[in-house]
């Protein structure tokens, strides 16, 4: 459905997109991960026909995103990263306008407003970030489009709304929608995405199945020892740092979890903790690898 082939758009050296390629099929949620200024929004703008590529080709549903942007936008629901709407309009006026512009069904709007409720009579300039985000979500999904491009979709949402959003994304995936989603929120990417690409300075540094990414990643563990002396000795043994009776370390190809467990049998171990944000570690791992020494 969504297809980027060797797309390059250079704004300045290391700023823009450089030879970016990926595919998002129907019924797939594709995560786009990267720090600020990495090129996530530029790639999404490329797909929305807002930016013309220097080279390469971007298509959605077979339509060229730059030359046939009207056809592309007919089949795309877009949620921008920054919600900027005319301040004098109320939420209701914006939704009515979007309904007319996108020719969407009012029933779908009512369903979405039940899931993401907010005061529709409030003027945009009086709305909080969360309210504006909910308005934009309702506006985006009420189109019931086969493709969704979501730039930082949970920004400003409270945890309950984030959960509702994730279940909506899951439902849409099951209905065969192709969804491209950029986010910094790693747990939600792990929960919702099928595949993910990590982008840095405009280049994709890895693209893989999300579970494969997490599985192949280095994981961080923290061991709590009964005695500080044990912690000291273990830290020396594995070349890690001790904090009181805690020692933290990463596992990977050079230091497997099995090797660590064998060593730990000789110590008084109180607890073993793993970090919850596994995808974040994948992200940090790849980024730190790429940093110049």
């Amino acid at each position: 459905m969504i297809h980027l082939q060797h797309v390059t758009k250079e704004f300045a050296p290391k700023r823009g997109l450089f030879d970016v390629s990926f595919k998002v099929e129907a019924g797939m949620v594709f995560g786009f991960i990267g720090p600020n200024g990495a090129g996530k929004s530029t790639a999404i703008r490329q797909l929305m026909g807002l930016i013309q590529a220097d080279s390469g080709h971007a298509t959605i549903g077979g339509y060229d995103c730059w030359k046939q942007s009207q056809e592309v936008k007919r089949i795309v629901g877009y949620l921008p990263g920054e919600i900027n709407l005319p301040g004098d309009f109320t939420g209701e006026q914006i939704l009515n306008l979007m309904q007319q512009l996108h020719q969407s069904k009012p029933e779908r709007q009512s369903e979405l407003l039940e899931q993401f409720p907010f005061e529709t009579k409030t003027k945009i300039r009086k709305m909080s970030k969360g309210m504006k985000q909910k308005l934009a979500l309702v506006g985006c999904f009420m189109k019931d489009a086969p493709v969704y491009l979501l730039d930082e979709p949970t920004s400003g949402l409270d945890p309950l709304m984030q959960e509702r959003f994730l279940s909506l994304v899951d439902k849409e995936r099951q209905r065969g929608k192709a969804i491209l989603m950029s986010s910094h929120h790693f747990p939600e990417m792990e929960k919702s995405c099928d595949r993910a690409a990590l982008i840095k300075e405009g280049r994709i540094i890895i693209e893989a199945d999300i579970h494969e990414l997490v599985r192949s990643s280095r994981k961080q563990y923290t061991i709590e020892f009964g005695l500080e002396a044990h912690a000291e000795q273990f830290a020396l043994q594995i070349g890690s740092q001790r904090f009181q009776n805690h020692v933290s370390f990463f596992t990977g190809n050079e230091r497997t979890l099995n090797q660590i467990i064998r060593l730990l049998t000789e110590y008084d171990v109180r607890a073993i903790q793993t970090s919850a944000d596994d995808l974040e570690h994948v992200f940090l791992h790849y980024y730190s690898e790429e940093e110049p020494s």
């Binding site: 703008r45 807002l50 930016i51 013309q52 009207q70 921008p80 900027n84 709407l85 914006i94 512009l101």
Partner: protein, 268 residues
């Protein structure tokens, strides 16, 4: 496309109405005061005291004097005030329709929908045309009302029509220019200052052309020379030629706006 036009009109209705009503009330006030001004002779005496350069800058003619209210308005309002108001009106409208939505990203509300950039530009153009027409129609209506209801005000219908049609074409031309400049930049202030700078220069050239015979050539560098109220009143104005020139300028700048907005990358 009508949805976009309607939405843009709704969004910009207040400033359009404010300009139309404000200028119309000013015209009504001048028309209402005109009979008493003429009775006391105060105005003529004051104008006689002014240097001829200042009178020329405001397009007053000492020889013809004030036979009717249009003679007064030709100098007082249409001589310079209208040019300043027209510039401010169209600069701010073009900024609200294009430069600001591009700058702050509001434009995505429309461009995320299945509409082309040409359709949005055409909608902005229609709103500018409607706003300009509204201003001129309100001004004309108020002057006709003054002609009918205020005793001592007699307006020559044909001269009034020529005034207003010429003013309307001038607004279309300036509107095309401000819209075209608004499509060129991401930064609203930059677009506003460049278009504003050119229009201020045009006004300065118009004023400068009246200072002496040596500087008269300056008026040819200003778009406002295509709306010469003094010549319109005297009947020596190349009315149709000026309309044709203004229409051509308007067409070219609007075409420029379409081409430039179609091609540019938008960071919204």
């Amino acid at each position: 496309m009508m949805t976009i036009v309607w939405s843009l009109l709704k969004h910009n209705g207040k400033p359009i109405t404010a300009y139309a009503v404000g200028t119309s009330l000013y015209l009504l006030m001048l028309a209402a005061l005109y009979p008493s001004m003429m009775k006391t002779g105060l105005l003529e005496a004051k104008l006689q005291a002014l240097p001829p350069e200042v009178l020329k800058a405001f397009q007053y003619d000492k020889i013809t004097g004030f036979d009717n209210v249009l003679d007064l308005l030709g100098g007082n309002y249409y001589g310079l005030i209208f040019q300043i108001i027209a510039s401010l009106f169209l600069l701010s409208l073009a900024a609200r329709l294009l430069a600001r939505p591009i700058d702050n990203g509001e434009l995505i509300l429309y461009l995320a929908a299945p509409i082309t950039r040409h359709q949005y530009t055409a909608s902005a153009m229609i709103v500018m045309f409607l706003a300009s027409t509204c201003l001129v129609v309100c001004n004309t209506f108020v002057l006709l009302m003054a002609d009918w209801f205020v005793s001592g005000v007699s307006i020559d219908g044909m001269t009034l029509v020529r005034f207003q049609v010429n003013a309307l074409f001038l607004l279309y031309a300036i509107g095309g220019f401000t819209l075209c400049i608004a499509t060129l930049f991401d930064d609203e202030r930059r677009a506003f200052s460049i278009a504003g700078g050119v229009l201020v220069l045009s006004i300065v050239l118009t004023i400068g052309s009246g200072l002496s015979e040596k500087t008269e050539w300056m008026r040819y560098g200003s778009i406002f020379s295509l709306f010469n109220t003094q010549q319109l009143l005297e009947g020596t104005h190349h009315f149709f030629l000026h309309l044709l020139l203004l229409a051509t300028i308007s067409f070219l700048f609007h075409l420029g706006a379409f081409v430039s907005f179609r091609k540019r990358s938008l960071s919204i």
